[in-house]
């Protein structure tokens, strides 16, 4: 089954929750919607499910318009952030409920329930009540209930956000495997760039009710269409330097200039934003062509294996992400280094002009 969202708007009173959404999802595809809180992810998911109607535009399955078709008549399964389970039913009956509603035979139901529960490692908990389970187990129960329907559209709205960090890591790997084996269209929303990159598949970046960019996750990462996309898809956020380009040089401020070589060649004069990822800034010179910048340490965060140095350069906040433990005191003057060929070039409106070239596969 293919699924389309065409020219969808959603307005509530004077607020625009969604504007001009056009998406086409192929059968068996895994799609991740990445955006900050209030970007419109949940609103979009509810419209896809048939729980809400758009103010304009429509949704279609296999070319057939299903806008306004009640969710009961659709073949959709949904998992929410707050693990929703029937509190008075055992895990077994929670998972079985969609099949019971569909009138399936008891023996068949039992077999299906055990199968799905095994996939999610909760087959030893079938007799328990939800309140007797840990958060992770409750969420697996909710996911099992969604999976058992074998719905053509599987929607998950930040399903792991209320779980332990470690549990999230483990469930994410399991979920990716589970999704890969199904024909359903899977749509998964998240606010975390690392989760979006780890899940892979097709990425939809949303911001303030609009879709900013779609594509394979690695491609959007390598070629973000704007500063906003680059910022949403990086953690720590991508560093942005205001730059003025003239005939021969790019001026980064503080008297620092770089010649227009390599992928900077041929840039027309004007104002730009140069973006550089925090792990492409270093505390020591890596290469003769590196340029050296100076700033003061505002904060050094060490997590045991990496150090994050927060600074301000030319009035803008920057973060250097470096492997290993590097002690730096607050207020300390430091140098940091960047290879010009790692710069992302964005124009004064924030649109991507040039991305760094990538040598390896």
């Amino acid at each position: 089954m293919s699924f389309s969202i065409s020219k969808v708007d959603k307005r509530v009173g004077r607020e625009t929750y969604l504007a001009d959404i056009d998406l086409h999802l192929e059968s068996g595809s895994q799609n991740v919607i990445l955006g900050r809180t209030l970007a419109g992810k949940t609103t979009l998911l509810r419209i896809m499910a048939g729980l809400d109607r758009p103010s304009r535009g429509g949704i279609a399955e296999n070319g057939r318009d299903v806008t306004g078709v009640s969710v009961r008549k659709r073949n959709v399964a949904m998992v929410y952030q707050q693990f929703v389970n029937y509190p008075s039913l055992s895990v077994f009956h929670n998972i079985a409920s969609p099949l019971k509603l569909a009138g399936m035979a008891k023996a068949d139901i039992a077999a299906r329930v055990r199968e799905v529960a095994a996939v999610l490692h909760i087959d030893h908990l079938l007799d328990r009540l939800p309140q007797e389970l840990s958060g992770g187990q409750q969420q697996r129960t909710a996911i099992a209930r969604a999976l058992i329907k074998d719905a053509s559209l599987l929607l998950l709205d930040e399903p792991l956000v209320n779980l332990d960090y470690k549990l999230r890591e483990e469930l994410r790997t399991e979920l990716r495997e589970i999704f890969g084996k199904r024909d359903s269209i899977v749509v998964y929303t998240t606010t975390e760039p690392s989760e979006a990159l780890m899940l892979g598949g097709n990425l939809v970046v949303m911001h303030e009710g609009r879709v900013l960019q779609t594509g394979r996750a690695e491609e959007v990462y390598r070629c973000p269409s704007s500063v906003t996309v680059a910022e949403i898809l990086s953690d720590p956020p991508i560093n942005v330097l205001r730059t003025r380009v003239d005939q021969a040089m790019a001026h980064l401020g503080d008297g620092l200039s770089v010649p227009l070589d390599g992928h900077l060649a041929g840039l027309s004069p004007g104002d730009y934003f140069f973006g550089v990822r925090s792990h492409h800034l270093f505390l020591e010179r890596q290469h003769p062509r590196d340029i050296e910048l100076h700033a003061r340490v505002e904060l050094a965060e060490i997590n045991g294996s990496e150090t994050f140095i927060h600074m301000t350069y030319n009035g803008r906040p920057l973060v250097v992400q470096e492997e290993g433990v590097h002690q730096r005191r607050m207020g300390e003057a430091i140098s940091f280094f960047v290879r010009p060929r790692k710069f992302y070039i964005f124009d004064r409106d924030g649109a991507l002009v040039r991305a760094p070239l990538f040598e390896d596969a």
């Binding site: 332990d164 990159l197 690695e218 956020p237 990822r277």
Partner: protein, 364 residues
């Protein structure tokens, strides 16, 4: 107040506990030094919130004592202890302005209007809230509201410790950095003891000077982020800290080699000797190496152990490579730009980063 001491603390939520399993906190003896920044880190159900609630006074422990300096505060409620708390959800008066919210705790204590105004301004500046001082709290973003919650604790000059219970849960990832930066600045400026509960190891490790790792009601290790990363005392710490966690392989030791299946991994002689001694005494041995330190080389080099690459995940700044060494799976963290062998490879275990655990405890 100087320091917080937890003396033989234990807690069961049941009125008549019959065994260890009935205890949410098993045996806690520890000291929190004045002015330190601590993170209480552990999985759901490990007892960290129970411990925090005992320190704050929201819970009276079934056993043991809590001392602030020399004073036994075990049975004192939170408002009688000189602490402030920040919870997962902002706690403030929605209908009041930011200024009124910050001033409230001082007005309540009868502080003069002049002193209140000075203190409110100082805290608002420290938290970057000056521009919204006269805005109604209800219209502000989640992170601004959390800052107000924090500010209400900071305004009180008698506050010596601030306790946080998963305060960044409702905050967007791109704003968490800014809030953590604020917390560090506050810590340095006001010199308070900060105790921070979280299940997120990134938060704990970047925030704290000392991380207290808990599991199943007990403190498993206290140390700096670096100590926890490089020398986890327990396989649980190796697993829980780090993303992905430490590779843990069951091994036997023969001479100066650790063995799992057909794989032979060289050990430093001193460590090998300790491992053999532990095994002779009946211990089960586990070899640990963090993904960051595990090397992956082309099959041709002949170094290390034979491995077959089964999965490569691109995380942007690095790749996580999963490889099979016989029946055992390992993960390596390969920086961006470094080549990864295509399928057949060699897994290299640098001796200085190879650890051995006997019955789950680090051999030193």
């Amino acid at each position: 107040m100087a320091r917080i001491v937890l003396d033989d603390l234990a807690h069961s939520y049941r009125p008549h506990p019959t065994g260890q399993d009935d205890y949410a906190l098993k045996r806690i003896n520890t000291v929190w030094e004045d002015g330190g920044a601590y993170a209480l880190l552990g999985p759901s159900g490990c007892g960290k919130t129970t411990l925090l609630n005992i320190i704050s006074g929201l819970l009276i422990p079934s056993q043991g004592r809590v001392l602030y300096g020399e004073t036994d505060v075990t049975r004192l409620p939170p408002e009688k202890r000189n602490i402030a708390q920040v919870f997962q959800f902002p706690v403030l008066y929605d209908t009041m302005t930011v200024r009124e919210n910050l001033a409230f705790p001082l007005r309540n204590r009868g502080v003069s209007p002049a002193d209140t105004a000075t203190r409110v301004m100082e805290v608002a500046e420290a938290l970057d809230l000056v521009s919204v001082l006269d805005a109604k709290a209800s219209g502000l973003s989640a992170d601004a509201k959390q800052k107000i919650s924090l500010g209400r604790g900071l305004v009180r000059s008698d506050v010596a410790a601030i306790l946080f219970d998963e305060p960044l849960t409702v905050i967007d990832p791109h704003l968490k950095w800014q809030l953590r930066r604020k917390l560090k600045e506050i810590h340095d400026r006001f010199n308070l003891t900060l105790i921070y509960v979280t299940h997120d190891q990134v938060e704990a490790m970047t925030f704290a000077d000392q991380v207290v790792v808990m599991y199943d009601g007990e403190i498993v290790q206290i140390g700096t982020p670096q100590e926890l990363f490089e020398n986890p005392e327990h396989t649980f710490v190796g697993y829980f800290i780090g993303s992905p966690g430490m590779n843990l392989l069951p091994v036997t030791v023969d001479g100066e080699t650790a063995q799992t299946g057909d794989s032979r991994i060289p050990l430093p002689p001193a460590l090998a000797e300790k491992a053999r001694a532990a095994a002779a005494a009946g211990a089960t041995l586990t070899l640990g190496i963090r993904p960051m330190y595990l090397g992956l080389e082309d099959a041709g080099t002949g170094r290390g152990v034979a491995a077959r690459i089964t999965l490569v995940e691109d995380q942007g700044d690095c790749r996580i490579v999963t490889a099979a060494m016989g029946d055992v799976t390992v993960k390596a963290r390969v920086p961006e730009g470094r080549a990864i062998p295509s399928q057949e490879a060699r897994a290299v275990f640098p001796p200085e980063w190879t650890r051995i655990f006997a019955d789950g405890r680090l051999l030193k």
